[in-house]
Symmetry: C2
Subunit: 154 residues, 2 copies
């Protein structure tokens, strides 16, 4: 099957960006993956409008990427905090891929703002494209698409 | 430095999504990386409004991710086709990461629509998070952030 004949919406990229393909969604997921959990922490860091954050968090909860957990500070009313679910944590490689592209192409003279290191050994972390037989690949080179006719018809 | 004190914009993820953080940008980059090159091919596949595609392509050209190359078909006026530059091809890991998340979480009963295989050996392709010492990591586990004070100040 030719790529141009494959429906644009029956595609895992299109499906994913229909949920997360919005600058705020990416930044909220980034902040949650970095350990911010409370509505006011997110507001303070992202400088996002409250109603925009409310709507995006509700969408992430509906999607099962984020869960609400109640907490209560002494003398205050109960509030919710927000944590990534396993489904939300599975999104972290997308964030790391975005980060690497920015590190490569948008860093200033001082270099990337943050580096990720393996906590156990201190070596820098990167995303690698590999096949199951262990060969490392360059994206777009030597990659073959196999269409799943059953999924494309469905 | 604490994550909450790091400015939200001095971040390679924020910088990258300020350029590409839009559903159409991702889908245009997807289609170009799959070999579609001509304006009308993109219109036909994406079902995007002409003015929206024109603006997004111009932004990708300005950003150096896409280049225009003239072509002419017999008896027709000269037109441009659009190809990813090296900077644009470097974005492919983001698309593959989005695809993998969709494959994991949004595929129907028939499975993912497309699988990527290594053309040389046929084995399936996946993104792996590894440190330079070769340890494979699970995102969010054993990852340490090292802040670059010079880049954060700048």
């Amino acid at each position: 099957m030719d790529y141009a004949d494959q429906p644009t919406d029956c595609c895992s990229i299109a499906r994913t960006v229909s949920i997360t393909g919005d600058r705020w969604m990416m930044l909220i997921l980034r902040d949650l993956s970095n350990g911010l959990r409370r509505f006011d922490e997110l507001i303070g860091h992202l400088r996002i409008a409250r109603d925009v954050l409310t709507r995006r968090l509700a969408a992430l909860v509906d999607e099962g990427m984020v869960e609400r957990r109640p907490y209560q500070q002494l003398g205050q009313r109960p509030r919710d905090e927000y944590r990534l679910t396993a489904k939300g944590r599975d999104f972290v490689p997308v964030l790391i891929a975005l980060m690497h592209w920015g590190d490569q192409h948008l860093a200033g003279a001082a270099g990337p703002p943050v580096r990720l290191r393996h906590a156990d050994c201190g070596a820098e972390i990167r995303l690698e494209l590999r096949c199951a037989a262990g060969h490392e690949l360059t994206p777009g080179r030597a990659v073959e698409r196999e269409f799943n006719a059953a999924a494309l018809d469905g």
